[in-house]
Amino acid sequence: MQTRSLEILVGFFVCLGVAAVFVMTFRVASLDTVGRGEGTYSVSGVFQNIGGLKVGASVTMAGVKIGRVRDIEIDPSSFQARVSIDISKRYDKIPEDTSAKILTAGLLGDQYIGLEPGGMDDYLADGSELTLTQGALVLENLIGQFVAGQSDSKEDKLAEAIGQLADSLKSSSEAKQGAHP
């Protein structure tokens, strides 16, 4: 029957299309559920300057993604940025004195939060606060420092600025390689 072959063709077409959608979702897009939905706990930290950090940015430890930035707001008392992050429940033994840094993937890439574990025996739990934080290195400020240092011809300030820049590049490129294995 003619309708039969037609229906088979349509079925084939729909299968092909759905298969394409699936391949796109799993092969092409990054379907990671870290930091989304259940199985997370929330901690927050206050940063002096978050630079270009956005909601949804990744939170890594030793280069491994363990969470996401959930919310960014201004702390009403200190006028600093309060960043809430969701960390996967799988990583529930993170020392309480862990420090958080805002880092950049590459020289001009996206910004993310890197956690460096401390050594205490108490662990971060839902609602904990990260007290050791370091804000984003804003490139303009660094260059400003560098230029100011040059005009004042203070060698040590120049060296310090360059050293800072080099550090940030080094750590961020390490992080970049680690973040996308």
Binding site: V10, F13, V14, L16, G17, V18, T25, V28, A29, S30
Partner: protein
């Protein structure tokens, strides 16, 4: 002066009629879903018949994009990023837009001509006189078929452009890049929201093309000139609508 007023009022009344037409379609969708066989037939006419053109153009678009990017990126030592750029360009813009334009040319024009001829040969009137609502039996099934077909066609198009034959063929097989790097770069940089955006666009374009095509066909004067004009203006209007809507949707979904 009166001429321009007449043109504007014609334009507005046309828009208004098109809106009513859309409402009629939407209200006929429920009853139309009760007859899945008609929809299947229309998916064949609209979707399956457009498959070949979609697959071939997807391949070539991906290939040419990869070739252009590879040439430029090579100068900056960033040829690893070819895959990312092809993938993002195709998923965010080119996939839905080019598939939509091809769909307008292939399926939209055929649809306008079909409906226009049904109108011209009184088939639609005959249905009405048989107490059969052509909105439910003719228009709404085609509308649903467009809504289903174009996202699927877009997925196939994008996959062709990025993976199977297009970008992958050029970047990996021709220029000797690494397949693993190609995929992992894409994987790391394409977000699920990009895909969502891609399919939302495709669905909207599918609806709009079919809406315009059937409106044009339904209101075509019952002459051969009327039908051919309906076909032409279907392709013109729906292509422009796709481009304009693409801008609007992108602006909406990126902000």
């Amino acid at each position: 002066m009166t001429g321009s007023i007449a043109i504007i009022s014609n334009l507005l009344s046309g828009l208004g009629r098109a809106q009513f037409f859309l409402f009629n379609i939407l209200s006929a969708i429920g009853p139309a879903l009760l007859r899945p066989r008609i929809i299947v037939r229309q998916i064949y006419m609209i979707g399956v018949q457009s498959l070949v053109i979609i697959v071939i153009s997807g391949m070539f678009i991906g290939m040419v994009l990869a070739l252009q990017m590879a040439n430029t990126l090579d100068r900056f030592g960033a040829e690893d990023s070819v895959g990312v750029i092809v993938a993002l360009a195709v998923i965010r813009e080119l996939g839905p837009v080019v598939a939509g334009l091809l769909f307008a040319g292939r399926a939209g024009s055929a649809l306008a001509a079909e409906i226009g001829l049904m109108r011209a040969t009184d088939q639609l009137s005959a249905m009405e006189m048989m107490a059969v609502d052509p909105m439910r039996r003719v228009v709404a099934p085609r509308f649903i078929a467009g809504l289903i077909s174009l996202p699927l066609l877009t997925a196939i198009f994008s996959l062709m452009a990025i993976g199977v034959a297009g970008g992958h063929l050029i970047a990996v097989d021709l220029l000797g890049g690494d397949s693993g790097t190609y995929w992992s770069q894409i994987h790391a940089n394409v977000e699920l929201s990009d895909l969502r955006q891609c399919f939302v666009k495709a669905g909207v374009f599918g609806m709009v093309v079919n809406w315009i095509a059937m409106y044009q066909g339904y209101n075509a004067p019952p002459t051969s000139e009327g039908v051919s004009n309906a076909t032409t203006s279907t392709v013109v209007v729906s292509s422009l609508s796709i481009l304009a809507l693409d801008f609007v949707l992108t602006a909406f979904m990126f902000s």
